[in-house]
Structures are given as structure tokens and as C-alpha cells.
């Protein structure tokens, strides 16, 4: 008498799938084959054509955009700012009382260049 569970299980006849399942599976395979025939792979020349057309269109658009858009005006050179500082306080007195020969008060001039 056998006592190995696996061997015992192998001796029992298994339930089989129904004919209905067989039909369903066969029709599924047939449908799949039909739909695959419909969506054939796109030939290489068509891919190349699409890529080329896209490239040409992109080039045309790029150039058209460049000619339509006016160049911005050249930025005007910034004007130099000139400041005049009048001295005050004791320095002013010194400046206001120069030697007799130079009665005109001197003027300080500071030039700052703009960035």
C-alpha cells in the first residue's frame, strides 16, 4: 500500500476543463490574431518621413520666428553723473579766505562713473 501523499495524489484522475472554456480560449486567440493583423507595424520609411518632416517644420518655424521678432534696440550708453560738492565748515573758511591773489573759492568736483 502506498503512503507517499504525492504519489497518492497522482493516482487520482483530475477534473478537466470544459469544452466551453476551450471554445472561449480558441475564439480569444482568433480575435487576438485578427486584431494583430489589423495593426501591422509601421514601416521604417514612414518613421523616417515623419522625423524628416518634423525636422523641416521645426527649422522653418525657428527661422520664421527669428525674422518676425525685431532685434531689441541697442542699450544707450549710461551718461556719466557729475557731482559738485561745495565744502562747508572750517574747510569752507579756509577756502573762502585764500591768499589775496586767489580770491576765487576753489570748487571740488567728484566724478562717479555709473556701473
Amino acid at each position: 500500500m502506498m503512503n507517499d501523499p504525492e504519489q497518492i495524489l497522482r493516482t487520482i484522475r483530475l477534473a478537466a476543463p470544459s469544452a466551453a472554456l476551450e471554445q472561449r480560449i480558441q475564439s480569444t486567440f482568433a480575435e487576438a490574431a485578427q486584431s494583430r493583423r489589423k495593426r501591422r507595424p509601421i514601416p521604417v520609411w514612414r518613421w523616417v518621413g515623419w522625423i524628416g518632416a518634423t525636422g523641416i517644420a521645426a527649422t522653418v518655424i525657428f527661422h520664421a520666428t527669428r525674422t518676425i521678432t525685431p532685434n531689441p534696440p541697442a542699450a544707450a550708453a549710461p551718461a556719466a553723473i557729475q557731482c559738485e560738492i561745495e565744502s562747508r565748515g572750517p574747510l569752507r573758511l579756509l577756502l573762502l579766505e585764500p591768499p589775496a591773489r586767489e580770491r576765487m573759492p576753489p570748487r571740488f568736483s567728484v566724478s562717479v562713473s555709473t556701473p
Partner: protein, 161 residues
Amino acid sequence: MNSPVTERLRAVYVESRQSLYTYAVSITRQREAAEDAIHRAFQQLLRHDTLPADLRPYVFRCVRNAALDDLRRARVRTDSIFDGASDPAGGVAQPHAFSTAELNQWLHQLSPDERETIILKTYETFTLQEIADLRGVPLATVASWHRRGLAKLKTMMAHEA
């Protein structure tokens, strides 16, 4: 001309339909649900443009997933993987004293993992390593499920004998 995907799947189906069915029934415990699971799995597989090189375990995994999806729906589940589960040994002389009903009942007393492993190993002739790959678990885990399941079956058979 059919595509390689369709042809490869058809070959696996023809070769393994009985095994796929037994496996699916062992999970769903409902023959109708098992057939639905197999059909759904093949419908999904046929939408693929490419398939893995080792296709058979992949198909079993897809059927398992479809069967587990079905299992989540509440239904009365009593079907057996055996033919004529209520007949004692199907009326044919067997080299053991157990009826198919008893064997079916014992199989369903195992944990789902133990039962799946024993069925894949016994009927589908998968190796333990292939079952581990199919289930996505370590080999040691599958070996343990197999050993424990067989030990439980032996105990139940010894009690009955």
C-alpha cells in the same frame, strides 16, 4: 501569419491547459471561476507585444493573479480539483484506501501556500526553485511550505488508515 506572441501563448496553453485548470481550481475552489480566471488571464496576455523568454511560469503567475482576484468575491466554494470528488476512488481500483472526497478535504485543510506548492509540484512538475520564482518568495520558504504540507497530509492519511 500569426504573431510570435499568439503562437507562443497558444503553445503554452495547449501544453499546460490541464495543469492551469487544476491550479486555478485549487485556488478558486470553483470550476466556473477557474475557467473565467484562465480566460481572463489569456485575454490580458494576448494584449502584450512582447513576452518573457521563460513563458510557462509567467502564464501560471497570470492565471494565479486572475484566480486570486476571483477569490476576493464572495461565493460558495466547494469544487474539487479531482474528477468525481464524491465517488470513492472514482470506482477504479486504487493502490490506496482513500476516496477523492477525503483527499480533497485534506488538501483544503492545508494552508493556501502549502496547497498551492503541493499542487504545482505534484501535477505541474515545477521544481521548488521554479515555484519560488513564480511566487516571488525565497526557495527556503517554498521548501518549508512543501515539507509542512506533505507532513500534514501524511498525518491525516495515517489517522484515516
